[in-house]
Symmetry: C2
Subunit: 296 residues, 2 copies
């Protein structure tokens, strides 16, 4: 997992928290850790609490690739959500040590089979791709900022990855198509064989060249904090594929369900709080609930 | 089926049509006719083309309950859709003979087992309920206009029906809740045991007291005209339940899929055009495609 590790301050209709553990690579790693050992590549400052490091270590996550800059401050994001949770409103972003982040993949990680490029500068995603050459399954994510700022670099990344994971609204923005299927075809033409679209409370959909899988969202009465929903989905997804170690339709579909299951728990607490005490049996139970929810 | 039969003039990004066959009861009846004989209760004027009457008759639809007012004009609606198809923009509505529509259920229809109250004045829906007393499965639909104008009357209708079918945005409006599950619970508290939520390109969901079924939408690259999508869904739904004549979870779930299948074809042509040549085998094939789309 290559991405951000952060300290977030979040306000939602359910309350607020300050300087809690966050960042895309954090959610990805915690979620994937339910299925597989994880190697985390990121950077934090000396203000990053040791308790967070302990949590990550306990959860199947190797921290050799997590640089701790002694003279730096951890990336911080402050934001809030309104009643409909449709959008994260950013109050402030302090890049801090992340400003000069250059992912250095430790030698012992370079032979890894599975690689997730979380939402970071596509130029940096490409640098990672140059260091990890043998991976058999590479997933990448992005966000509106990079779509606007570096579309050409992003396109070069897509030519080299197996699966592109993106929010529905960002997919529309990137493709310039309002129709989902047209948007996916356009993006698929850039190179990745698989496109996974995260659709919020409409669920998620996976497109391959010759099939479409559409999964409903798990209906939730209470959402405490949607931060990290997409990343915990992505972590569950790649974690399950890695565990099965077979990149085939059936496995990928199940991976979508496991990803959705973890995301459905994640939004039930602030930041990573819910993932801290989430048991694997609960994830398995939710997988069955997805069967009941969608079966006919 | 009790509802409107209309002549619609529709413009969409795919083109336009004038005075074509429309109306909620028309879509409902054509869709339900694939599964079961239909009794249609509505009113048209003397300008209503005989060819439309012929089409309806050919399609398993009894017209004893369709009043033709010799001195009246048929209900007409004119509207258009923009690129995203999110909303029907009304240009004009001429109620004409529909203005004084008082549904008179023919004696031979009064013992029917299945009743669909399409989107009409809830006061009229209640008059129908007083005439059809033995139905074992009653579905009703509504729209934003009645939610705003006659919420109390609508609530009285809901106390007497088995299933309430509603658009997601109208459900939110009616319940005052942005969370889907909370909105459904609030509405269920008014009486109907089943709530079916039509979610557009997010699919449809069915809530009973102890289960939720969530079905993805069939992904379509081209939408010609979304008019009648919800009503053709509703018609396929009740038609299939009527054909099976068992009101049980398994049947209701399949009914949701058949309704969605017909709706997915309906939006491929203007007005009812696509339903005119749609074969049952195509519907069965799409049902299987829904299995492939959603199975894991």
């Amino acid at each position: 997992m290559v991405g951000s590790v952060a300290l977030d301050s979040i306000a939602t209709p359910s309350g607020k928290r300050e300087n809690i553990l966050g960042g895309s690579a954090t959610y990805l790693s915690l979620a994937a850790g339910y299925f597989s050992p994880v190697n985390l590549v990121s950077v934090v400052g000396s203000d990053f609490p040791g308790s967070h490091l302990e949590l990550l270590k306990e959860r199947n996550i190797d921290l050799k690739g997590l640089i701790i800059k002694e003279k730096g401050k951890t990336f911080r994001w402050q934001g809030y959500y309104e009643d409909d949770f449709n959008e994260a409103h950013t109050v402030s972003t302090e890049l801090n040590v992340f400003e000069n982040f250059k992912p250095e993949i430790p030698q012992e990680y370079r032979d890894c089979d599975y690689l997730f490029l979380a939402n970071i500068d596509p130029d940096l995603q490409r640098e990672v791709l140059h260091q990890v050459k043998k991976a058999k399954f590479i997933v990448c994510d992005t966000m509106n900022y990079w779509i606007t700022q570096k579309p050409e670099s992003l396109k070069k990344v897509l030519a080299e990855v197996d699966a592109f994971m993106i929010n529905e609204s960002e997919l529309r923005q990137f493709s310039g198509e309002s129709n989902l299927l047209k948007a996916v075809k356009k993006v698929m033409g850039l190179g990745s064989d698989i496109v996974v679209v995260k659709r919020g409370d409409s669920g998620a959909a996976m497109f391959t060249g010759n099939s479409i899988f559409s999964l409903s969202a798990y209906p939730l009465e209470i959402i405490v904090d949607p931060t990290g929903a997409g990343d915990s989905f992505g972590g569950g997804f790649i974690g399950y594929v890695c565990r099965q170690d077979r990149i085939e339709e059936k496995v990928l579909r199940k991976a979508m369900v496991y990803g959705s299951a973890i995301a459905s728990f994640n939004v039930g607490g602030f930041g990573t709080e819910r993932l801290k005490d989430l048991k694997f049996e609960e994830i398995e139970k939710r997988y069955q609930e997805f069967k009941e929810l969608t079966g006919f």
